[in-house]
Symmetry: C2
Subunit: 206 residues, 2 copies
C-alpha cells in the first residue's frame, strides 16, 4: 500500500502521530498542498476527494478519511491499541474523534480558510472553489473560546480524553492544539487541566 | 441504559434506523427540540453537549455522538452487522460515515440553520448561541449540488456505498437524502444511480 500525504498539514499530522506511536512504516509520497498538487488530475484519479492523506491499498481501494485509515491500520497492527480495547472504550474514542473533528478542528479550519490570504476562493478542502466568508472566521474564534474550557472541565476528572488509556482521541486533541497556533490562538492559561494534559500527551508522542 | 432522543430530527433518525434494522429496543425518552428541552439544566447535566441523541449507560457514561452510540451497540449486538465485518469494510464504512457527516449532512444543516426563521441565533447545535450567516446557507446549497453527482458516480459501480454489503453508511446517506427535503433540495433526476440506490436502501429499511 502507499500513503499520499503532506507532512505539515493538520490531518496528515494526526495520521503521522498514529504511525509513529504504533511503529508503522509506510511507503509514502508527499503531495505538495502549497502547489495545489492535491487538485491535479493525477491526484484526483487516486483520490476524487482531492485531499490528503489518502491511503491506497494493494487492490487499488483508496481510503481518504483519516479515521478510516487508522481503523484499517489498527486492525492490521493491533498492538499498542489507540482506538480502544473494550466496546465502551471504542465508543468513547470514536465519539471524541468525531466531536473534535466537527468541533475544534473545523472551527480552527474555519478561521484559517475564511480569513487567510492563502485560501482566497479556497474556503473548503477539495476540488470545489468557494469564496471566503469573513463572518465564519469570526464564528470559528467564538467556537474555539467556548470549546476549550469544556474540554478543560472534562480533563479535570480524566487523565486521558476517552477512557482510562491514551488513545487516538488524545492524538487528535494534541494535533488540534498545535493547529490553534495557525490562527494565533492557544490554550488559555486558566485551562490548567488541559495544559497539564498537553504535557502528558506530548510525552507519549515524544 | 437509556436513550434520550427526538424522533423527527436527522441525527436521531440515523440512530432509529440502525436500531430498527438490528431489532434493538431501548428505554427511550423524547427531548422536545421544538421547546429547546435539550438546553435545559436537566438535559445539560445528562449531556453537556446539549444535543440528542444521547445514550446513558448503566454506569452513568453518556455517549453523545451517533457514531459512538452505534459503535457501542454493534459490539453488544453483532448480528446483522452494519459497521463492516472485515478490516477493509470497517474502514470503508467509517470513512463514508465521516465524509457524509462532514459533507452532505453539514452542508444541508448549514442551509437550514443559517436561513430558517426557526434557527435565528441558533446557527449551530449545542448551548452556544450564534447568529445566522446567510452566505453560509448559499455555500451549503453549492456544496449539495456538487456532492450529489459525486455520490451518484460512486454508485454507478457499487450496489452499496461502503463495500459489498448494506451498512450504516447507507443508513446515513438515506437519512441525508430525506434531510434534503427540509431545505427544498432533492436528488437530481440525472443522478440515476443514486435514485436506484435510494429504492434499494428504502427496501432494506422498510
Amino acid at each position: 500500500m502507499k500513503l499520499y500525504t503532506y507532512d505539515p498539514a493538520p490531518n496528515p499530522q494526526r495520521l503521522a502521530a498514529f504511525l509513529k506511536y504504533k511503529g508503522i512504516a509506510l511507503d509514502t509520497v508527499q503531495v505538495d498542498l502549497m502547489n495545489a498538487e492535491q487538485l491535479t488530475p493525477e491526484h484526483l484519479k487516486i483520490n476524487p476527494g482531492g485531499t490528503v492523506p489518502a491511503l491506497v491499498l494493494d487492490d487499488g481501494t483508496c481510503l481518504g478519511a483519516v479515521i478510516g485509515i487508522v481503523t484499517y491500520l489498527e486492525a492490521l497492527h493491533p498492538e499498542k491499541p489507540l482506538l480502544g480495547s473494550t466496546p465502551l472504550e471504542k465508543a468513547q474514542v470514536i465519539s471524541w474523534c468525531h466531536n473534535l473533528f466537527s468541533g475544534l478542528m473545523m472551527a480552527t479550519a474555519s478561521v484559517l480558510r475564511n480569513s487567510s490570504k492563502g485560501f482566497v476562493n479556497r474556503a473548503l478542502p477539495g476540488p470545489l472553489d468557494l469564496p471566503q466568508i469573513p463572518e465564519l472566521a469570526e464564528r470559528g474564534k467564538v467556537q474555539i473560546d467556548y470549546l476549550l474550557p469544556g474540554i478543560d472541565r472534562h480533563l479535570a476528572d480524566n487523565t486521558w480524553l476517552a477512557g482510562d488509556n491514551f488513545s487516538f482521541a488524545d492524538i487528535d486533541l494534541h494535533t488540534c492544539i498545535g493547529f490553534l497556533g495557525w490562527v494565533k490562538k492557544s490554550v488559555p492559561e486558566d485551562c490548567q487541566h488541559l495544559q497539564a494534559w498537553y504535557e502528558r500527551a506530548s510525552n507519549q508522542l515524544a
